[in-house]
Subunit: 122 residues, 2 copies
DNA sequence: CGGGATCCGAAACGATACTG
DNA sequence: CAGTATCGTTTCGGATCCCG
């Protein structure tokens, strides 16, 4: 496995790719996506699940994800109003690769924390 | 695939996981990791490959990756000095999941860009 | 060549208050 | 219930200068 196939992160395509990666890179998108993985959620429900996210950041994150076609936003005209969020097919495919990241992080978190402490003890 | 297994991003483990994810989420780590995927690189070599990264950010990014045990830093006591960077086994395993992300971004970048334009046209 | 130190503007984020 | 608006703080990142 010495030779890896590296995507076109080198040329002009990199800008686009980085652009997309920055959404996943922000503070809350991955958490929100994971919480939408197994079910449709309402706003405040999502908020509890993603604690301690602020109302402002959840709103902003969802807005960005909707803009990217990763989640859908459905408004029910009841009173009080009700809004459902769910992953689109694109969001579902994103979830899969994001879960790869999350699992890696989970598997390695403890050892990385240890290495960090060792590294900082200097 | 309606039922997804979601990792423990909910409990106390989430802090650790998010902590780890934030490294991948910063502006340059993914690019640097990908460029280290197929070979050991020297500092300025890496700098050219990651253009337009600044010296400061490349230095900071590598420092963080070294701290997390993702890259090794090897100093050769020649003149002028020479420093090699390479992925550790942990870094190699991270590369694999990161490539998953990069490929997804590459595959979806064009359509996402289109959706963004549509969304913004309101 | 491979950095570190400093400064500064921009962007992200949190807290709080208010609204349909 | 599901947001928006405003504000202040913190963090990030680029530019520049310096050094072994």
């Amino acid at each position: 496995m010495g030779q890896q196939e590296v995507p076109e992160l080198c040329g002009r395509g990199r800008e686009l790719v980085r652009d997309v990666l920055e959404r996943v890179g922000d503070k809350w998108s991955v958490v929100v996506i994971c919480q939408l993985g197994d079910a449709t959620r309402r706003f405040n429900e999502l908020r509890r699940l993603c604690e301690p996210i602020t109302q402002r950041m959840l709103s902003a994150t969802l807005h960005g994800l909707e803009r990217d076609g990763v989640v859908t936003r459905t408004v029910f005209d009841t009173k009080p109003v009700r809004v459902d969020y769910a992953l689109t097919p694109r969001g579902l495919s994103l979830l899969e690769v994001v879960l790869g990241l999350a699992w890696w992080a989970e598997r390695n978190a403890a050892e990385i924390q240890r290495d960090r402490d060792l590294f900082d003890a200097r």
